[in-house]
Assembly symmetry: C2
Homo-oligomer: 436 residues x 2
């Protein structure tokens, strides 16, 4: 059992430490001595992209089932134990990982670790719970389907990545959920919920050694550290994706049309992600961005208009989202295309680079004042990156971005074939001009 | 100019101070010496319920227009000045107040105060900006209309309060927005955006005297403190509401039905709000609540099921929200009605009271770690309550709630006539049994 100080912090705050337990379970903590709360996350390196096509939605289904009961707690005891002390407990499933987390007062840290570890290691997944929770998942799918902005993002991913694991919806669909058996889900649990694939991250007013002790005790009680193993390496690569281009239109009688126009971006380990971040800020990252100014401030064509980037192990996304009245969509698409072309031809201004860096810097610093976001940053980093960067290192990487870096990444990404997803009252409309 | 220490804090943190400037402008601050950021809010005591019926949506329209330009900054300069330093600036309109806020690094406090004060005191509201922003507001209305959970809450308010100022939608509707003239909106600005109706609240790593200096300087530059006046009294009362009961069904082909079932609650100054909070926690405040357990955990009938309370000067709401497949709505409504009856007949258990208090306590403490929520708490309190309570006082009030208090408030509130709003594929369905 070795403990490493990954980052020495400043004035006793922000110290990041890492310990690897015998079973390959990693514990990372960050000290925030002036807060009263603590956030605990248990990150498992399994996501929806690890599912076979016929098991679509199994990872997320499993995430729900873990809260239904363990050998020592039923569903009510799991939630009541944390809620009764004023804490919160929840989970989410992503394409490449699943996270269970709780936020409690610092004195309640032992309970939070105990409950989360119980859920992650000792869930029963009874056939009755599977049947009852199947209804909940179908409700969740229906809820998302009623939200046009959710639908358009999912359709965009599906069109961009085609029928591949990373292109499929995390929740699955009605058919796949109805087809999933208890045994299949249980098999995923047994195969993937193992210490080498798990990272426990804790941020707040905590002592690292005490956290390690508590985690080790909870996992040992569950018999989960018996097998010696090293941690699994981070997910640094994948099958890659074929560069596609396509249009997907969902005809629905909404008041607003919702669109995503974009293409593949950079992968998580790509050094150009910082330059792409600056580019994204300038194009559509805030109220002072080109898209917001052109579409909303000058023309009044939309309420919400922004661009975004996302990263995975072997690919990424770069997209523009706009919600506008159906009659305005041609104007909006033209502005989007024009701004993309203008950036490819001319790059962005020195002022935009300065502002983009300021935005990224501020977003990072202001976004990391609470325990939950610090816990997420270190937990996710430990799981999916080769090295856990300190905030100062990230700030230095942002600062180092040059105009040439931004132009280079724009020349690459913004010239790729485009994909468009639209939801709105468009039974017959031809959008082929928008991506040609 | 007098400065009062409203709360002495602990160990130099959490000190709350209040200063009244000559024009009646109030400045309240709370010190959080260990954070790097600062949140600034400017709260104006005017909301949508102050609108004449024919000006529905004017307050919110005005809130948008304030960002379009002042005598010294255009829209781009307003957003770029804050975003370029990594901050955020935004606003929201409620039924009884409007808030403009920014969050920046502490060293940028002077800029944040300057920009916000500029927007609040010196906006131009040009006819061109009104026309362009009218399109944005119509887009925002369309966006909300596409979200069934937004629609159902708004329809519930409209049915519960009828055609009264507090029952009307904050955004207005297409017709009212198209009818609003520049002069009408400008008149609201001149009549209500005055120092006696304004509270500036700041939380973070700040010095109170310095904040007061900066605010005074910014308002004086705008000539806004010339007229001597005392602060306006808080909005402690209103016309009250008639207790109604009704059903409103919006027939729409959604995947899920969305419903709100509820009645009037308690007003903001009602001492029973703490007991109602405990009751609400037990009924539908979290995953361990009765509604969540019955509807989701045991029966798998919904993904989202919760109860809520809200308070205004002279009334309040107590409601239950559920999103479920259309075929499940009768089962869901029956469970809701049964739980309400059971609580009226039997009260809630000692365990539920303990857990409910824990939930309220934890939610309060964990929810107040960031500068934004501290700023909101003190700003809103100063504007709408007679006295600004410290967090410790609020905690003491929660702790003091007795089982008798909970039973008494349940006997009153949960026996009132019910109102139901539903959105879903129900052209002919008769819901009258659900509230009978």
């Amino acid at each position: 059992m070795t403990t490493t100080i990954l980052y020495p912090g400043k004035d006793g705050a922000g110290v990041i430490r890492r310990t690897v337990l015998p079973g390959g379970l990693r514990v990372v903590t960050e000290t925030m001595p002036t807060v009263r709360s603590v956030a605990v996350g248990m990150w498992v390196g399994i996501g929806s992209r690890d599912e076979a096509p016929e098991h679509m939605g199994a990872t997320h289904f499993l995430e729900h089932l873990l809260f239904k009961g363990t050998s020592t707690r039923d569903a009510m005891e799991i939630s009541a134990s944390i809620e009764g002390i004023g804490g919160e407990i929840n989970a989410f499933t992503a394409k490449e990982y699943t996270c269970y987390y709780a936020r409690v007062l610092d004195e309640d840290l032992p309970l939070a670790i105990d409950v989360l570890a119980d859920v992650v290691t000792s869930s029963l997944i009874t056939p009755e719970d599977v049947e009852s929770e199947r209804g909940v998942i179908l409700e969740e799918i229906a809820m998302h389907d009623d939200d046009p902005s959710d639908v358009v993002h999912e359709q965009f991913s599906a069109e961009l990545y085609g029928d591949t694991p990373i292109g499929r919806p995390i929740l699955g669909n009605e058919e796949s959920i109805n087809a999933l058996s208890r045994d299949r889900i249980h098999e995923y649990y047994q195969r993937y919920y193992l210490p080498p694939l798990t990272v426990v991250s804790v941020a707040g007013n905590v002592n690292h050694e005490r956290v390690v002790e508590l985690v080790a005790a909870a996992y040992e009680r569950a018999g989960a550290l018996a097998q010696l193993a090293p941690p699994a390496p981070p997910r640094l690569d994948g099958p890659g994706v074929e560069q596609r281009s396509g249009i997907r239109v969902v005809d629905r009688p909404t008041e607003q049309a919702n669109l995503v126009l974009g293409t593949t971006g950079v992968s998580r380990g790509d050094d150009r992600r910082f330059a792409l971040g600056v580019l994204n800020a300038a194009l559509g990252g805030g109220m002072s961005s080109r898209l917001f100014q052109e579409i909303r401030e000058k023309r009044g064509l939309a309420y919400s208009a922004y661009s975004y980037t996302s990263q995975y192990a072997d690919t990424g996304q770069f997209g523009i989202y706009v919600g506008c009245l159906p009659s305005k969509i041609d104007d909006v698409l033209k502005i989007c295309r024009d701004e993309l072309s203008r950036i490819v031809a001319e790059g962005i201004t020195a002022e935009e680079i300065t502002r983009g860096k300021g935005q990224m810097r501020g977003g990072l610093v202001l976004g990391l004042e609470d325990t939950g976001s610090r816990m997420s940053r270190i937990g996710k980093s430990e799981l999916v990156y080769e090295e856990l960067m300190s905030v100062d290192e990230v700030l230095a990487r942002i600062e180092a971005v040059t105009p040439e870096d931004v132009s280079a990444v724009a020349q690459d990404i913004l010239t790729r074939p485009l994909t468009l997803a639209v939801i709105g009252p468009y039974a017959d409309k031809d959008f082929s001009g928008a991506i040609a």
